[in-house]
């Protein structure tokens, strides 16, 4: 069996003697026998490292790695610069705890401070926290920030990611906020509905940009609608698109959130990713979770600490702004290294590549009989088409040749995605295959 215990038998006996007990079991004398498990533990015997790794490799091999991915819907297959992997695998960063002891945590604190700066610059907001779990929980935490004594209702656009909608709804089940879904109209948030239902009870409106269908929402108008009723405006953004699109601040957002996965994190079957959160200055003290701040030491040297801790659970307990303790710190560092490596120019290039390829693929698919559903709307790197053959069948046929096709939304609807990783050749291959399928009315 494998073990990571660094104590020899002799050392064990020395320690037992020092403690004054005769055996390891005596240390557990306080545990009443009637609490102990009856019978054997149904656990496998321990294994050597070689066996464990071989087993894990076998598990991994039971998954299909697609050579070509045209699926997004909340998890995006972007290129990860090698420097990103190298930095975040440094043992100091990997194995350190939350930086409570600032004197020996300046490295990680400074990296959080730099991350917060980058998030503020990306979103145009004033203050960022050190990350939360993911984009969906960030949206839910943001909604909770907007609650006050009079305003208890959360408006959520139906064009947001379904998991984000579900997560906000769950948090509302917890904290008692009222949840109201703003319907979609032709793939976009129904602005008239949002305006009509924004009132004195409205705490906030949540809108995703670009939305679940890849469309670019009229974010400024939506923000104005909820602001008119005195509610707050939360935007959930894609950080790659944010390099070129209007910032949440420029759209009037009070809080900007999103999932950082596209910036350096592998697909990893859904996680770990990270939720970024930034807000206007007046909301800073309502932010959940860790925040790093600049200060000076006893000698006047610049340094960083976790700050505004009076918001947090370990100080405020049941009155805290959130219960969050562990966040996604290493993922936040991943995102920061990604942004540093790409630079503003590289980020804009990635965004442009995504958008250009999606436009190219959409044209190709049209020729193959998969027609764009929201034809005239501006979109980023995702789009919905019709499917002349059952969407599940398209998925199955493409799977056979190593292509992960778009996500079936309905029998005749598919949500496609492109990133910089999809070459023209791969896209031409895809459209060729689909054309063939359409002609044959199914199979390849």
């Amino acid at each position: 069996m494998g073990s990571y215990i660094a104590t020899s038998v002799q050392e064990r006996e020395e320690m037992l003697a020092s403690v004054g007990v005769g055996s390891l079991d005596e240390l557990f004398a306080d545990i009443p026998s009637e609490v102990r498990k009856k019978g054997k533990w149904d656990l496998p015997p321990g294994r050597s490292e070689m066996e464990v790794l071989a087993y894990m490799e076998r598990l991994a091999s039971q998954n299909q790695v697609f050579r070509s991915v045209f699926r997004g819907a909340g998890a995006y297959d972007h290129y990860i610069p090698q420097i990103v992997k190298s930095v975040v695998s440094k043992e100091e960063f990997l194995t350190t705890y939350t930086p409570y002891q600032a004197e020996v945590s300046q490295g990680v604190l400074q990296s959080i401070f730099e991350y917060q700066t980058m998030i503020c610059r990306l979103t145009g907001m004033d203050a960022s926290n050190a990350s939360v779990y993911d984009g969906a929980s960030a949206a839910a935490e943001a909604a909770a920030m907007c609650r006050d004594r009079k305003r208890n209702q959360v408006l959520v656009s139906a064009t947001a990611h379904p998991d984000t909608i579900r997560t906000i709804r769950t948090y509302c089940f917890g904290n008692g906020m009222e949840f109201l879904l703003v319907p979609e109209k032709d793939g976009m948030t129904d602005i008239e509905f949002a305006a009509a239902y924004s009132n004195a009870q409205t705490a906030c409106l949540y809108v995703q940009q670009p939305n679940y269908y890849g469309l670019i929402e009229d974010a400024g108008t939506l923000g104005a609608a909820v602001h008119q009723a005195g509610g707050k405006y939360i935007m959930g953004i894609n950080p790659i698109a944010a390099a070129i699109l209007k910032t949440p601040r420029e759209c009037g957002a009070d809080i900007a959130v999103g999932d950082g996965q596209p910036l350096g994190m592998p697909l990893g079957y859904g996680g770990p990713y990270l939720g970024f959160m930034a807000c206007t200055a007046d909301l800073t003290r309502k932010l959940p979770g860790r925040i790093a701040g600049e200060t000076v030491d006893a000698k006047g040297r610049r340094g960083y600490v976790l700050t505004l801790q009076a918001r947090e659970q370990h100080i405020r307990r049941e009155k805290a702004s959130s219960n969050i303790c562990s966040n996604q710190a290493l993922c936040a560092m991943t995102m920061a290294v990604y942004m540093a490596a790409m630079g503003a120019e590289g980020m804009a290039q990635a965004a442009s590549l995504c958008a250009s390829k999606a436009a190219y693929l959409r044209n190709g698919l049209k020729e193959a009989g998969f027609l764009p559903v929201y034809g005239s709307r501006p979109f980023f790197h995702e789009f919905v088409t019709t499917s002349p053959i059952p969407a599940g069948e398209v998925e199955k046929q493409l799977e056979k040749v190593g292509i992960l096709g778009g996500l079936p939304l309905a029998e005749d609807r598919i949500l496609w995605c492109c990133t910089e990783k999809n070459s023209r050749e791969d896209m031409d291959e895809l459209t060729g295959l689909l054309k063939k399928m359409t002609e044959r009315g199914g199979g390849l």
């Binding site: 557990f28 656990l43 990997l94 770990p272």
Partner: protein, 478 residues
């Protein structure tokens, strides 16, 4: 040292992406950002060195003893990292068809089966990303359970005053009123206070056992029975599971729902504060309320959402790659290694406690579980040297301080948890330094307030940081 923005040089860059091989798309001006995105402009070498320098100013488990109480800073095995980096896991899209993710589903199912056996639970969700997230999820299960029975009057969660701060904060987020009950000086539940607190409005009790003073509450069966008899459910905070993993199970203690911290008990790295993983296990009576989807079947596996699911607490299925690390750990240790981890964690804590008892007061004398709490109140009274001073003093000798000022019921507390992976030699060194600091506290107390002397910075002004928050870098030209 300089911030990455201050190192930025115009024109330095990396060349990471290929040129565009399709017609370039452009957007109308009104959709584009007006504010220029300002990011560092650096070469790869400059970025690499920047982070190497930051790493040098960061203390990890690999740098030395990290006896942070309640945090279980054990060694993070390398094989876990290798397993989590396998392309067959990292390159898998969360929305791939089920037929193409059988390996992922098998891994989740196996982790669920093993962890249910370890905790004495029937089902488990891996969706929660951290311990507090698990608490929130578990409490929502309790809420859904009562409401599903048509009982809307159970609005109170009982939490002992020795509990982790996340407990009351989670209860509050789940819409409950927190009833704090006093603990004895040993952190154990005051049975009389508990009996008085329970009633028809009791939704449940949150408890960690061993408790935050490091003692196993012997009355555990009576405690959980009192709550059950009042119609409430029992929630187990798994933060301290490392003390009893493989020895005794929360399910056998009378708990109905439990969260685990895979980043504590199951050896996954803390990453400077995350990502962790906070799976929630429950008894069968709560399974229909779990977040969806859960993994069903025994090959082929499929994803299904339980009938009365509380919904999702995050996107997809949780911090999957963290679960992979924990699974590799459990398979490595197996049925012998898992209880051994607990035995040695407890032995090491008792050894340090016994040795340090000669020089320091303990919150509670006698044997402890995986951690113990020192009480420096008397030392402070006599010398003016506080728990903080002693903690900061450890830094100069390359030792990470214990958890400070927790639990709240112990004044001037230092909470020490060495874990099973520290060697006796390392612990002896920590004990030696603690003794040296005690002697110095008596001899020259004033000097102690200045410590540490050798760290990258001296003590930082936290008051100013909070009063005039500076939360991002602003260049003079901005």
């Amino acid at each position: 040292m300089k911030l990455i923005f201050e190192k930025s040089c115009g024109g330095h860059r990396l060349d990471l992406l290929p040129p565009c091989d399709v017609p370039v798309k452009s957007y109308p001006d009104e959709l584009l950002r007006k504010k220029t995105l300002l990011l560092p402009e650096l070469s790869e070498n400059e970025i690499s060195r920047h982070y190497t320098k930051l790493a040098g100013r960061t203390f990890g488990v690999n740098d030395g003893c990290y006896p942070l109480g309640s945090c279980t800073m054990k060694y993070n095995p390398k094989v876990n990292e290798t397993a989590a980096a396998l392309p067959g896991f990292t390159k898998i899209h969360p929305l791939q068809p089920e037929s193409s993710v059988q390996g992922c589903l098998h891994a989740l199912k196996l982790a669920e089966t093993l962890l249910c056996e370890i905790t004495g639970m029937d089902r488990m969700t891996f969706q929660p990303a951290a311990g507090a997230h698990g608490e929130f999820t578990g409490l929502l299960l309790i809420k859904a359970y009562h409401e599903h029975r048509g009982d809307f009057g159970r609005r109170k969660i009982i939490v002992p005053d020795s509990a982790h701060g996340t407990n009351p904060a989670s209860a509050s987020m789940a819409g409950f009123t927190v009833v704090s009950i006093p603990s004895g000086p040993d952190g154990c539940v005051d049975l009389t206070a508990l009996k008085e607190a329970v009633g028809e409005d009791t939704a449940g009790l949150m408890l960690t056992n061993p408790n935050t003073v490091g003692l196993f509450d012997k009355n555990i069966l009576e405690i959980t029975k009192i709550v059950h008899e009042a119609g409430g459910l029992n929630y187990y905070d798994g933060a301290n599971l490392n003390a009893v993993v493989g020895i005794v199970r929360p399910g056998d203690m009378g708990f109905d729902v439990v969260h685990l911290n895979l980043h504590k008990t199951f050896s996954t790295p803390h990453g400077g504060g995350g990502p962790g993983s906070g799976p929630v296990g429950c008894k069968a009576l709560l399974a229909e309320f779990l977040p969806g989807p859960t993994v069903e079947g025994d090959g082929p596996y499929r994803l299904e959402t339980p009938e009365h699911s509380i919904g999702k607490v995050k996107a997809f299925y949780g911090n999957f790659l963290v679960v992979i690390r924990a699974l590799a750990y459990i398979l490595t240790l197996g049925r012998e290694g898992i209880p051994d981890a607990a035995r040695y964690a407890v032995l090491h804590a008792n050894y340090m406690k016994a040795e340090l008892s000669r020089d320091y007061d303990m919150a509670c004398p006698g044997l402890c579980m995986h951690e113990f709490v020192m009480c420096l109140e008397e030392l402070k009274k006599q010398t003016g040297v506080s728990a903080l001073d002693i903690a900061k003093g450890l830094l100069d000798d390359g030792i990470h301080p214990p958890t400070m000022y927790f639990p709240l019921i112990v004044p001037e507390a230092l909470m020490v948890e060495p874990t099973e992976t520290e060697s006796k030699e390392t612990m002896d060194e920590v004990i030696r330094v603690f003794r040296k600091l005690k002697e110095r506290a008596v001899r020259e107390p004033e000097a102690m307030h200045e410590l540490p002397l050798t760290a990258a910075v001296r003590r930082l002004d936290e008051v100013t940081a909070a009063r005039h928050p500076k939360l991002k870098y602003e260049a003079e030209t901005e």
